[in-house]
Symmetry: D2
Subunit: 347 residues, 4 copies
Amino acid sequence: MKRIKTAVVGASGYTGMELVRTLLNHPGVELVAATSRQEEGRTLGEVFPRFGGVTGAELRFIGPDPAAVAAAGAEAAFLALPHGVAAEIARALLDHGVRVIDLSADFRLRDAAVYEEFYGHPHPAPDLLAEAVYGLPEARAEAIRQARLVASPGCYPTSILLPLLPLLREGLIDPATIVANSMSGVSGAGRKADASLLFCECNESARAYGVPKHRHLSEIEQELGVAAGVEVTISFIPHLIPVNAGICTTITATLAADAASERVGAALEAAYADKPFVRLRGRGAAADTKHVTGTNFADIGWEYDPRTRRVILMSAEDNLGKGAGGQAVQSFNLMCGLGETDGLQSV
Amino acid sequence: MKRIKTAVVGASGYTGMELVRTLLNHPGVELVAATSRQEEGRTLGEVFPRFGGVTGAELRFIGPDPAAVAAAGAEAAFLALPHGVAAEIARALLDHGVRVIDLSADFRLRDAAVYEEFYGHPHPAPDLLAEAVYGLPEARAEAIRQARLVASPGCYPTSILLPLLPLLREGLIDPATIVANSMSGVSGAGRKADASLLFCECNESARAYGVPKHRHLSEIEQELGVAAGVEVTISFIPHLIPVNAGICTTITATLAADAASERVGAALEAAYADKPFVRLRGRGAAADTKHVTGTNFADIGWEYDPRTRRVILMSAEDNLGKGAGGQAVQSFNLMCGLGETDGLQSV
Amino acid sequence: MKRIKTAVVGASGYTGMELVRTLLNHPGVELVAATSRQEEGRTLGEVFPRFGGVTGAELRFIGPDPAAVAAAGAEAAFLALPHGVAAEIARALLDHGVRVIDLSADFRLRDAAVYEEFYGHPHPAPDLLAEAVYGLPEARAEAIRQARLVASPGCYPTSILLPLLPLLREGLIDPATIVANSMSGVSGAGRKADASLLFCECNESARAYGVPKHRHLSEIEQELGVAAGVEVTISFIPHLIPVNAGICTTITATLAADAASERVGAALEAAYADKPFVRLRGRGAAADTKHVTGTNFADIGWEYDPRTRRVILMSAEDNLGKGAGGQAVQSFNLMCGLGETDGLQSV
Amino acid sequence: MKRIKTAVVGASGYTGMELVRTLLNHPGVELVAATSRQEEGRTLGEVFPRFGGVTGAELRFIGPDPAAVAAAGAEAAFLALPHGVAAEIARALLDHGVRVIDLSADFRLRDAAVYEEFYGHPHPAPDLLAEAVYGLPEARAEAIRQARLVASPGCYPTSILLPLLPLLREGLIDPATIVANSMSGVSGAGRKADASLLFCECNESARAYGVPKHRHLSEIEQELGVAAGVEVTISFIPHLIPVNAGICTTITATLAADAASERVGAALEAAYADKPFVRLRGRGAAADTKHVTGTNFADIGWEYDPRTRRVILMSAEDNLGKGAGGQAVQSFNLMCGLGETDGLQSV
C-alpha cells in the first residue's frame, strides 16, 4: 500500500503530540517531518517516550522551515501552531505544493475583520481566507475533498456545532436562546509552563474562564449562522476541570414555537446516521467523556423539558481527538482519497 | 465555656462525616451521639480513621433511635438521612424536645404535593411543613434563630440560590430565562457501593445526569419564586466531575429590559457585604471550587455580556460544606445563640 | 486476510473490557463470542459505550457456556474470570478443541499445593497444570507457540519479573535481598461495587495493602526461582494510587559480590534488545506509567547506588495492557502464528 | 489571650501558603508579616483567594527584608525559602531578636561538609549549625523548647524517621537493610512553573525520581545514625503520584537476629503513646494519606513477614502538614510555651 507522506509542523505541544500519535498509528501514512524549534535534533521517541520503539518514532525533529518540510517530501502538512504564526507557514507550504490542514484559528473565519476583533491583530493572510475550507467533515465533506487548505475546527466549536447544526438547519430551535456550557480537560490549554496549569492548581478544582467572549465564539457563531440562515449570537461559558482530555458540552435552547420535540431526535438521526464518528445516544442519554477519550468519536444525547420548552443537547468528545488531531486526520483522509475512518478506528 | 450537646443521626455517610468533622472542631459543641445502623458499637475514630486521636472521637456509634439520642442529652440533632426516613425521626426528636436540623429533602418544600411529585411518595409528615424553616441563613436568619425544625438546603440549591436571590428580589433579570449548569464532586452522590461511582467510572470522566427534572429543582424553584414574587421555572443541568468535593455553578439569565448591568454587582454587594460566608469575587472573576473546599464559604463572581444581554453568575462552594454540613452548623449556631461563624472559620 | 475466531469469557469486567477493546482493534481477529452472566443479551456497544459504532461491537453477550462458545466457532478463548472458576471453563473449552489463554491465577503455579496455600482452596484442575505454560512471552515464546493452555501472568508479576529475570539468570544480584514496591491503578482491583473502591475513597489517597503475603507472590517467586536456579523469597508491597491504569514498580536488590554494576545494563540489553514490547530506558532513567497506559509496552530503567551496593530497577506497564489483556493477546499471536505485535502497536 | 506575633518569610509557595493557613487558624497567633518579592503589596486574600474574608487575610505582603519583619513586631518567623537563601535571612532575623523556624535544609545537617556534598555549595552559615535544633518534636521536644533556631525537618524525612527511630534506638532492626520507598503528592515539588509539573504531566502518572541520592537522604541518615548509634546508609526512592498532598512511605528492614517481632509494636507504642500527632494503626494496618491530609497527624502501621524476616513499616502524613507547615508550628508552639497541639487540632 502506498503511504502518503505527511508532516506535522509544531509537533511538540499536546495537539502536535496527538497528531503524531495518530499518524504513527495510521496505516496509510508515512510521517516524514515533524518540526519544533526547541526539540530540533531529537527523535520523536526521545521527546515523547510514549512513542519509543514504535516504527517511525526514530524520526528527528527539524526546525519549522517550510522549505525543509517540502524537501522531506511531504504531500500534506498539519499545522499545530499558535494563531498568527500558522498563516505564514501555511502560505509557504502551499507555495511548495504541500496541502495544508491548519489546526490554528487563522483560517477558520470568513471575515478578516471578525478575526481582528477576536484575535487582536490584523489577519496575517486575508487573501487565503476565500479558499480555506472550515474542516468539519460532517458538514463539508465535499469541499474538504477538493481543498488545498483546510481550517480544522477548534475543540469547543466541534462539540457545540455538531449537536446544533441539524436543529438550526431545520429551524427547530430559537437561535436567540442558545446557551452553551462546556467543560474541558486541561490539555486544551496547551503544554506551556504556566503556573495556573500546574497539577495542584487544576486538581480538585473546577472553574469557568474566558467569559463572556472566548475567542472560539467567533467561529461558533459564524457556522451557526450559516446553518440558521440568520446571524446567531450565543452565550458560551467554558470551564476547566481536572481531566487530561475530553470536552463535555451541555447546550440549552428553546424549541421553536411550531416544532414538535420528537423532531429533535429525527433531525439528529437524519444528519448523523451515516456519519462514522458521530454516535447518537438517543433521548434522555447523557454523553460521557470517558467513552470518547483517545478516539475520534463525538457522542451526542438530548432531552426535552416540557416545563421550560427547552431542548437540552449533551455532547462529548476528546478535545485532542475529534476536537483537534483526529478531526484533522479525518479531513486529511478525505483530501487524499483515503477511507474517512482510516487510522481513526481504534477505541 | 458551656458546650451545647449535639447529635448526628446518620453519621456514616459523607454528609454525616462532614458534620462530625465540623462538630468535633467546634469549640462550642459537645458531640454526644452519632448514629448508624451498620457502624453501631464502633467508635468515630474506628469508622473514620481521619478522626482518630481527636478529642471526642472515642464516641461510639449507636443505632438510629430517637429516644437514645434524647437520652444522651442532645439538645440539637442533625439528620443526615435519606428523604422519607428523616421525617419520622425528626418528629420523634422534636417530641423529645430536641431541636432538629434536617439535611434531607423532607422539610424543604412548603407544598406536600410538590414533594410527592418530585420524590415519588406522599409526604411522611405534612403537618410539620408549616413550622419547618428553609435554612438558608443568608436569606432567613431571623426565622432560623426561632426555629425548632430547620430544613437545611441541598448543595445544588445553595449554589444557585445565593447568586440569584438578590437579582430576583430587585427584578434585575427575567426569571423565565434562567439556565443553571452545575458541576459536582462525587461525594455529592453519597457513600454507597454503586458501580457507577467507582473510581475508574468517575475519574477522567465528565457527564450530565438527572435531566431534565432533578429533584433539587423543586426547592430551587420554590425559593426563587419567593424572591421573584412570581412562579419561576428554570433549566437545571447537573454534571458529575472527578473531584471529591465542590460545586461549581454557572447561571445565565437575561438582564431585565429596564435594568442597567451595574445593578447586578450592586445588588450582590447589598445582599452579601455583611454576610460572613459569601465572598463576592466581583465582575469578571470566576469562582473556583479549590478555594472553598473544606470551608463554609460560597464564592460568587459575575459578568455581563452586552452581545446577548445575559448576566452570567458563577458560584463555588463545597457540596459537603456550605452545601451541607457547614451550612447546617451555621443554622445551628443561629438557633443556639452562638456566633454565626463559630466553629466554621478554618480555611 | 483470514481472521482468527476468538472469544472472551467473562467480558464485563475491566480486564474483559480491555481484551474486547484489543481484539476489536486487531486486524487478524474476529470476535465471535463474549460472555457475561449479567450482561447476557446486550451488545458490546450497549454495555461499553466506548465501543459503540465500532465494527464488531454489535455482538451480543451470551452466558458463560463453553459449548456455546465453541459453537460460535471460537478457535481461541480468553478467560477473564475469577480464580477457581476459570479452571473448569478452561477444561471444557479445551475438550471442545478451543485453545485457551487464561488470565486468572488458576494455571500459573506449577505446584497445586502452593496454589492451595495462597488461594485458600484445593486446585480445581491439577491434572492440567503440567501442560499449562506461564505466558510471559519474553521468557517463553517457544513454549507459548506450542501451547494449548496458556496461563497469562498477573499485572504485578509482569512488572517485577521483566526487570529481575535477566539479572537472576546471570547471577548479578543476591536473590535474598529483593524488595519490590509496586503502585497500581485502581482498575487492578476489578469492577466490583465495593465501597473501598469508590471515587472518594481512592482519589487523593495512597495506601499499601495486601501485606505481607499478596497472592501474586506465589507466581513471582516461582518464576524468579526458575531464573535463579534456587528458591527465591522476596518482599512485595503493593499500593493503590489514584490513577485508572498503570503499574509503577521499584525493586531494590544487592549487587552480587563479584558483579560489576555495568553488567546490569548489559544483561537487560541482551535480554530485551530484540523484544518488541520491552523498552529499556537506560541507567538513571525512571519509568513513568503515563508513557505506557493504553499500550502493551513495559518500560524499564535502572540505577546503581554504590553507597548501598543496591541495584534499583524501575518498571512501568499498563496493568490492563502488558499486565493483562495486551500480554494475553501477545501470547495468542504467538499461538496462532500471527506476528507478535499484530493488533498491539497502537500508542 | 495574648497572641504571639509571627511572620512567614517566603509565603507565596505551597509551604508558605500552608503556614499562613495554619497561622490564620491558630488562636494563639497574630500574623504580622508575610513576605514575597513577587506578591509585594497584595493582600493574603488577593494572592490566595481561599483566605479571602478570613480575619487576618487583609495583611499585605512585604518584600523579604529581615529588618521590616522585625519592625512589624514579629517574635518568631517561619522561613519557607530555598536552601542557600534561608541561612542569611535567618541570621539577620536572629540578630534582630526574632526566633526562627527554618523550613529549608540549611540548618538540618550537623556537618557543613555533608551539606556541601548534598546541596552542591558551601554552607552559607556554618557557625549557626551548632545551635540549630533539628525540629522533630517527637524526638527533641526539650531542645526545641529552648531553641532560638529550629531546622524543621523535610517531608520525606519525617515520614521515614518517625517509624524507624524507635526501632533503631532499641536495636530491633538491622540498619544496613533499610529500604524506604515514598510516594509524594505534587505540592511537594513546589509552586514553580515547570512543565514537568503541569496537570497533564502528573495526572494519570506514577514515576520514581531523584535516585539514587535524593538530597533528603543526608538528614535522614544523620538522624537514623543518631538513633542507631552507628552510621546508617539506606536506600530511599521517592516517587511522584497524582495527589495534591500526602506522603505514603513504606519501609522494609530485616528484624535483628535476636529480636522478637512483637517488640516492634511495643517499641512504637512506647515511643508514641503520649505523642499527640502520631497515630499508631497497629500491626497489619496500612496508613492512608487520605486520613491525614490537611492535618498534622502522622499515621503509622506495621507488619512482620516471617518468610523474609523483614519488618514492614507504613506511614502517611501530609507533606505540607506534618511534613512541613504543621510540624513547624508544632515546634513553634513548644518554643513559645503554648500547648503543643494549639492551632493544630482541626481534622
